[in-house]
């Protein structure tokens, strides 16, 4: 599993809302081997403060060596990233972790909530190279309000997969959250749910999957220092009482493996 520490030039900065941004980075080595669900660790500052890299899902890669991240400014590190400019360089380390395991012959149901949308574009593209998986599949995207989703819809439409949306304030698609939408639709037979988003959402989806007897892969978060298995800081309790490491064993897990606080 190759990993690279690259100085990546920022080739595009898109601001979707006050807090939501998408960066395109020239990162050919990472782009060449990244898989959906994997992530990168990015240095946000120049000095020693903030000290640690920040993890971001790979939002999409392109054949010309670019990767994208889609992020929200929530604290010190992401605030700095929200101010980078085209032409500047960022230190990017990746690709890291275990991505989604695409199950062939099983219709794919992708569910992304909030910033959990980030890895879904990459995954949707990969999945739609497999006909069966895609034609019966669907994507559900949820956010707080329209602006969080609208700028991304074109990219998903292009892929040609059935698309549902939900917003907390009803400004786009279903008025409510993605779990409501999942409940309201008929899941394709023998489908696999691939999801990413806040823990309560993932817990809800895991629950629904269990009730429906379908496989569910979830991408989870954790505080990380190294992103590569060196610090053992990113522990997540497994159902069996042991700890998994999000950066090494995840970030994508089979929902059944983890302990859910519900």
């Amino acid at each position: 599993m190759p990993q690279y520490q690259e100085k990546a030039i920022i080739t595009r900065v898109e601001q979707f809302s006050v807090k939501n941004f998408r960066l395109t980075l020239d990162s050919p080595e990472i782009a060449s081997c990244a898989k959906p669900g994997q992530f990168v660790m990015i240095r946000t500052g120049v000095g020693n403060d903030p000290l640690l890299r920040r993890p971001f899902s790979i939002h999409q890669t392109s054949s010309n060596g670019a990767i994208q991240i889609y992020f929200k400014a929530v604290g010190r590190g992401t605030d700095i990233l929200a101010h980078v400019k085209k032409g500047e360089a960022l230190s990017v380390f990746g690709p890291l972790g275990q991505g989604f395991k695409v199950r062939e012959d099983s219709p794919a149901v992708l569910v992304g909530g909030g910033l959990g949308i980030a890895p879904m574009l990459f995954l949707a593209k990969a999945i739609c190279r497999l006909k069966n998986v895609c034609s019966k599949g669907l994507v559900i995207l949820g956010g707080r309000e329209k602006n969080e989703l609208a700028p991304l819809l074109d990219d998903f439409h292009e892929i040609g997969i059935t698309l549902y949306t939900a917003t907390d304030d009803g400004s786009l698609g279903h008025h409510g959250n993605v779990v409501d939408v999942l409940h309201s639709i008929d899941l394709p037979a023998n489908c696999t749910i691939y999801s990413c988003g806040p823990e309560p959402m993932l817990a809800g989806i895991a629950d629904l999957a269990r009730q429906n007897g379908v496989v569910c892969q979830v991408s989870v978060e954790s505080v990380m220092a190294c992103g590569m298995g060196a610090c053992l800081g990113c522990s997540k309790p497994r159902k069996d009482g042991s700890y998994a490491h999000v950066c090494l064993n995840g970030p994508v897990f089979n929902a059944e493996e983890l302990k859910w606080n519900t």
């Binding site: 990993q3 020693n48 610090c231 053992l232």
Partner: protein, 314 residues
């Protein structure tokens, strides 16, 4: 076991000796920050490191602490991993094979709950292929029983040192805690007890609080502070200990650049360990080896050893 060594004729000579162990250069990776080395294999040339020190090993496997285990602080981080590890038996059977295949010295960091446990772990490492040294961690602040007490009590520190020295067939390095009133007292005690060298510092005990939840930032409440923030304290303690003992001293604490590493050598360190910086810049340890080489060339040093303790204080 034979390591790829710099030949005497290669100038500048970066070799240093810690006890009976010769390192090709003074750069090691600190325990708990470099996994079992393999994690870094596709990022750098491991063979260029002076030595690798692996994650702390205990007698029995440990699950470690519940999350959150780490939290960032100003120019540093707190960790309370809680010594998650597979235990010495599985370490030897599962991890040592790969490590023994490396052409660099592998030093095993050990931690026990009692003097007897330390002795038992050391005993299990006797004759194990690839083990070039033992680092005795008497200073881990994250384990309730044991850890701290040994590191802050000169008598206990000496007892642990003696027990490990009594069985070990490789050089023994004792790693000191900075959470003490006078680090030279413990340093002298472990020197007298037979330690081949001393490494310091381990983490400072610290704490973080999440104002929003009104809870500690770490599940363990307290944790170990590492990173650039602690470098001034580490440098001071290395300077004090190097002036107090005659065995080699290994400098640890916030080293993130070639300059940092060289400063520790001026303060009296024979070699250094890179810790938290491995998380920030995964290739940093190899970069520092390169940096030291460049420095020695630029300064026309025949041997990097001429720097050790070279601080001018008149």
């Amino acid at each position: 076991m034979e390591y790829v060594k710099t030949e005497k004729e290669d100038l500048p000579d970066l070799r240093v000796n810690i006890g009976a162990l010769e390192l090709a250069n003074p750069v090691m990776t600190a325990s708990g920050t470099f996994g079992y080395a393999r994690e870094f294999a596709n990022l750098m040339n491991l063979h260029r490191l002076g030595a690798v020190i692996v994650k702390g090993i205990s007698l029995y496997p440990r699950e470690g602490n519940p999350p959150p285990r780490i939290v960032e602080t100003a120019c540093g981080m707190l960790n309370a991993i809680g010594l998650q590890n597979v235990g010495v038996d599985r370490f030897v059977s599962e991890k040592m094979k790969y490590l023994a295949g490396l052409s660099i010295p592998v030093i095993v960091n050990i931690l026990g709950d009692s003097v007897e446990e330390y002795r038992q772990i050391a005993e299990k490492l006797v004759g194990v292929d690839g083990v070039a040294g033992i680092e005795v961690n008497i200073s881990c602040p994250n384990v309730k029983k044991g850890g701290v007490a040994f590191g802050t009590d000169a008598v206990m520190a000496a007892a642990v040192t003696e027990a490990v020295k009594g069985v070990a067939d490789v050089p023994v390095m004792v790693k000191l805690s900075p959470n003490v009133s006078d680090v030279t007292v413990v340093a002298r005690a472990v020197e007298d007890a037979g330690a081949d060298c001393i490494s310091l510092i381990n983490t400072l005990i610290g704490m973080g609080i999440d104002l929003k939840t009104k809870r500690p930032a770490l599940a363990n409440i307290i944790g170990g502070l590492s990173g650039p923030a602690i470098k001034p304290v580490a440098l001071r303690m290395v300077y004090q200990v190097a002036n107090a003992v005659s065995i080699p001293v290994i400098g640890i604490g916030g080293i993130s650049s070639t300059e940092d590493a060289l400063e520790f050598m001026l303060a009296g360190a024979t070699a250094v360990q890179i810790g938290t910086a491995n998380f920030v810049t995964p290739r940093i340890s190899e970069e520092i080896v390169e940096g030291i080489h460049k420095y020695a060339v630029a300064e026309k040093l025949n041997s990097i050893r001429s720097l050790i303790g070279g601080l001018i204080t008149d």
